[in-house]
C-alpha cells in the first residue's frame, strides 16, 4: 500500500531485504555461516562494500551541544584513571520492588550498571521509568536502548528523559528482531538503528556506547564498522562475548587499525549455575573463552568456579592493557536475581570496580 509520506531525511539508503531495514549494517546477528538471525538466507550486507560510511547528513539537527550529565562526567573522570567496571543489572521484568535488593547488592562495587534487554521477557518497563527507579538507588546507570519497539519520536522522548534523570550513558543497539524472543507477535519497528541513535543520544547530553560482535561475520570488517559508529557519535564500544583474551585483543587492534580510538569494554561472562550457562549459549554471536563451559560443568561448586573464571578472565583482559574496562554480565536464575547481583559485585570488586 502506498502511503504518501514526507521525504525521508536519511541519506544512506535502507538496504532491501534486511528484516531490520538497516542502512548501517550488518548487525551483530549474522550467524557464523553468514545467514541472518531471522532468515535462513544470507545477510544482505555481506555482498556489499563495507563499511557503510556514516553520513553526517543523517544527523539532521543542530550540532552536538557538548553538555553531559553529572553521572556521565563522573564516569569520564574514572575512565581517566583506571579501567571502567560495569555489570548487568539483574531484575525480574516489570517488578519495581526487585530494583532495591539488586541495587543494594551492587552498591559500592561497580562504576555503572547496564540495564538491558532480555529475549525471554521482551516486555520491560520503558527505559526512562527504569532510569527513575535505578536513579533513586544512587547507582550510576548505563541504559540499554534498542530500536525494535519504538519509533524515533518515542525514542527521542525517552532520551530527553534519560538525560533529565541523570543517566550516565546510553547503550544504543539496533536490537534483536521481534522474531527472536518471546514476543514474535509484535511489529518490528526499526525506524532508527544503533548508528542513527548514537548521534541523537549525544545531542540529548548523555555518554554513548554501542555494541559490536567481534565473532560475527564479516569479522575483518567489524573494526571499520566501529570507526563509523565513532564518527556517528559513539564513545564506548561494549562487545558481545568474543572468545579468548588474544581474540578480543585482536579485535581491539582491528579497531585501532581502522582509525577508531574508542575504549573497548568486552563482556565478561559470569555463570553460577547450569541455567545461566544455557542462557549464555542462546546469545547470538556469543563466543566464550576456550574451555569455559567445560571447566564450569566439571566443577563441584559451579558458583565458586564461575566466579573464579570470571575474575581470571576479566583480570587477563585488563592486564592486556588494551581494554577500556569490562562489562560483567550473564544470566540469572528466575527469582534469584539479587543473589546473582551479589556474585556480580564480588567479581566487580576483584577487578577494581567502585574504587
Amino acid at each position: 500500500m502506498n502511503v504518501p509520506l514526507a521525504p525521508a531525511a536519511r541519506i544512506a539508503p535502507r538496504i532491501a531485504g534486511c528484516p531490520k531495514a538497516m542502512s548501517y549494517g550488518p548487525c551483530g546477528g549474522v550467524n557464523a555461516d553468514g545467514t541472518c538471525e531471522v532468515h535462513p538466507s544470507p545477510c544482505v550486507f555481506l555482498t556489499r562494500e563495507l563499511p557503510v560510511r556514516w553520513n553526517a547528513a543523517d544527523d539532521t539537527a543542530e550540532a552536538i551541544t557538548g553538555s553531559i550529565t553529572a553521572a556521565g562526567l563522573e564516569i569520564q573522570q574514572i575512565a581517566r584513571r583506571r579501567p571502567l567496571i560495569f555489570t548487568g543489572f539483574p531484575v525480574r521484568a516489570l517488578q519495581s520492588s526487585a530494583v532495591g535488593p539488586t541495587a543494594d547488592a551492587l552498591a559500592g562495587s561497580v562504576d555503572a550498571v547496564l540495564s538491558g534487554d532480555a529475549g525471554r521477557s521482551r516486555v520491560q518497563f520503558p527505559p526512562s521509568y527504569r532510569a527513575a527507579l535505578i536513579a533513586a538507588t544512587g547507582l550510576r546507570l548505563w541504559m540499554g536502548f534498542n530500536a525494535r519497539d519504538r519509533n524515533r519520536t518515542a525514542l527521542e522522548r525517552e532520551l530527553a528523559s534519560l538525560a533529565a534523570l541523570d543517566v550516565a550513558g546510553v547503550h544504543c543497539v539496533t536490537g534483536d528482531h521481534t522474531q527472536t524472543g518471546d514476543r514474535p507477535d509484535a511489529r518490528p519497528v526499526f525506524d532508527l538503528e544503533s548508528t542513527t541513535m548514537l548521534s541523537r543520544a549525544r545531542r540529548a547530553g548523555v555518554l554513548t556506547s554501542f555494541a559490536e560482535s567481534p565473532a560475527a561475520p564479516p569479522i575483518a570488517a567489524r573494526g571499520a564498522r566501529v570507526a563509523e559508529k565513532q564518527n556517528a557519535g559513539g564513545q564506548f564500544c561494549l562487545t558481545q562475548y568474543a572468545g579468548d583474551v588474544e581474540e578480543v585483543a585482536d579485535f581491539v587492534r582491528l579497531c585501532r587499525a581502522a582509525g577508531s580510538a574508542v575504549p573497548v569494554l568486552p563482556g565478561v561472562p559470569l555463570v553460577v549455575d547450569r541455567e545461566g550457562a544455557e542462557v549464555l549459549a542462546s546469545f547470538h554471536a556469543a563466543k566464550l573463552p576456550a574451555g569455559f563451559i567445560d571447566r564450569l560443568f566439571a566443577a563441584r561448586d559451579v558458583r565458586a568456579e564461575g566466579i573464579r573464571l570470571a575474575v581470571d578472565y576479566g583480570r587477563a583482559l585488563l592486564e592486556s592493557g588494551l581494554m577500556g574496562g569490562v562489562v560483567i554480565a550473564g544470566g540469572a536464575r528466575l527469582g534469584e536475581e539479587a543473589a546473582y547481583a551479589a556474585d556480580l559485585a564480588v567479581v566487580a570488586r576483584e577487578l577494581g570496580g567502585g574504587s
Binding site: L94, F125, P126, D149, R150, N151, R152, S161, A186
Partner: protein, 366 residues
C-alpha cells in the same frame, strides 16, 4: 465476499492498520486523514455492524506465557478506584496538559497548578515535538500532587513497548490511560517518524483494563460514519473502556444526538464533553476560521469582541460546560486550552484551565 473478509480488507487498506475502524480522522467527504486516500471503513455502515471485539486479539502468544513474563492481569489499582468513583458521582473535570516544552520543572509546576482537577490527561498530541517520556511526565505530575490519566497513542510504539508503558504507569500510581490510536505521523509535527500502529485504540483500551488502570477512550461525534459513532464507543466499552471523551462539538445538539445514540446501543458508557478554553483574540480568529475545527461559534464571538479576553474565554468556557453537563449521560467536562503563541511555557494556558475548572465547580455547587 463475507463481512469478515471485507473488514480484513478494510484493515489492510488502512494506513494505520486499524482493526476496529474507522478512526476519528475521517473527513466529511470520507477522505482519510492521510492526504489522497479514502477511508476504507467509513463508506459502508453495513460493514461496520459486523465489527465485534475479540479478547484474543490482545492475548500474548504462548511463548510469552511459557517464559513467565507476560503482562500480568492486575486487579483494579487504588488510584483507578478513586477516579472511577468520581466518574460514578458525575463530577469529573479533566484537562489536557498544554505544556509543549521538554523541561521537567515546567511539567512539575503545571502539575501543582492542576492538582485540583479530577485528572490531568497528559498525552502526546500531534503538535508536540520535544517532550519528556510518558512515564517521566506521569511521575513528575503525580509527585506534584496531580492525578494522572496518561494519553497513550499507538502511533510510536509497538505492542511490546505499549505493554511496558502500561505496566510502568500502573506501577507509578497513574489513575488510568486515555487509549487513542493517534494521528498518522504525516499529519503530526514528526512526519518523518515511522508509523507503527501495531494496535489501535480499542485493543489498547482492552490492555489498559487488564493492567488494572482506568480505561478512557475518545470518540469523534462529527466524523463519518456519524451514525456509527455511538456504536463504535459501545464496541470500545465491550473491549474494556469505561469512559468516553467526546471531541469538540460545534453545537450542543451534536453532543445530545451522540448521547442519545449511545443510549440506543444499550451501552451505559459515561461521557465527558470537551470544552475549549480560548483566551486570546488571535487564537479565536485563527481557529474559528479553520475548516474542520469544531470551535463553538459562541466562544469565538465572545473572545473576539471582549476587552478582557482571558475573562471572556473563561466565562464562555464555563457557560458551554454548564450546557454540556445538562445533557443526559454527560458526567463531566474535559478542558482543552488553546495555547497562545507567546505563552512559551504553556503555564498561562495552565492557569486559564485551572481558573475555568474552579469556576465550573462553583457554578455546579451553587
Amino acid at each position: 465476499m463475507s463481512i469478515e473478509l471485507r473488514l480484513r480488507d478494510a484493515s489492510a487498506h488502512c494506513p494505520k492498520h486499524m482493526v476496529y475502524g474507522p478512526c476519528g480522522g475521517v473527513r466529511a467527504d470520507d477522505g482519510c486523514e492521510v492526504p489522497g486516500l479514502r477511508c476504507s471503513f467509513a463508506a459502508d455502515p453495513h460493514l461496520l455492524r459486523g465489527l465485534a471485539f475479540a479478547p484474543a486479539d490482545i492475548d500474548p502468544p504462548d511463548s510469552a506465557r511459557d517464559s513467565g513474563d507476560a503482562l500480568p492481569v492486575a486487579p483494579r489499582r487504588p488510584a483507578a478506584t478513586v477516579f472511577a468513583a468520581r466518574v460514578a458521582q458525575g463530577t469529573v473535570i479533566t484537562a489536557d496538559l498544554p505544556v509543549l516544552a521538554a523541561g521537567a520543572a515546567v511539567v512539575s509546576e503545571a502539575g501543582a497548578r492542576l492538582a485540583e482537577l479530577t485528572a490531568v490527561i497528559a498525552g502526546e498530541p500531534p503538535g508536540l515535538r520535544e517532550a519528556l517520556s510518558p512515564t517521566h511526565r506521569a511521575l513528575l505530575l503525580t509527585a506534584a500532587g496531580a492525578t494522572v490519566i496518561a494519553g497513550i497513542t499507538c502511533r510510536d510504539r509497538n505492542r511490546v513497548a505499549l505493554e511496558g508503558e502500561l505496566a510502568a504507569l500502573g506501577d507509578l500510581g497513574a489513575a488510568g490511560v486515555l487509549a487513542v490510536t493517534g494521528d498518522h505521523p504525516s499529519s503530526t509535527a514528526r512526519p518523518d517518524a515511522e508509523p507503527v500502529f501495531d494496535l489501535d485504540s480499542t485493543r489498547l483500551a482492552a490492555l489498559v483494563r487488564r493492567t488494572g488502570l482506568f480505561a478512557a477512550v475518545v470518540e469523534q461525534p462529527a466524523a463519518p460514519a456519524i451514525s456509527f459513532r455511538p456504536s463504535r464507543l459501545a464496541l470500545k466499552a465491550r473491549a474494556g473502556a469505561e469512559l468516553g471523551i467526546l471531541n469538540l462539538c460545534r453545537d450542543i445538539a451534536d453532543l445530545a444526538r451522540f448521547a442519545h445514540g449511545l443510549v440506543e446501543t444499550g451501552a451505559a458508557v459515561p461521557l465527558i464533553a470537551s470544552v475549549p478554553v480560548v483566551t486570546s483574540r488571535a487564537a479565536a480568529m485563527r481557529l474559528g476560521g479553520l475548516p474542520g475545527v469544531a470551535l463553538p461559534a459562541e466562544i469565538v464571538a465572545a473572545v473576539s469582541t471582549a476587552d478582557d479576553t482571558i475573562e471572556a474565554g473563561i466565562r464562555a468556557a464555563t457557560a458551554w460546560a454548564e450546557r454540556a453537563l445538562a445533557v443526559p449521560g454527560v458526567v463531566g467536562v474535559h478542558l482543552s486550552a488553546v495555547r497562545d503563541e507567546d505563552d512559551t511555557t504553556g503555564l498561562a494556558a495552565v492557569d486559564a484551565v485551572a481558573h475555568t475548572a474552579a469556576r465550573i465547580r462553583e457554578s455546579a455547587a451553587a
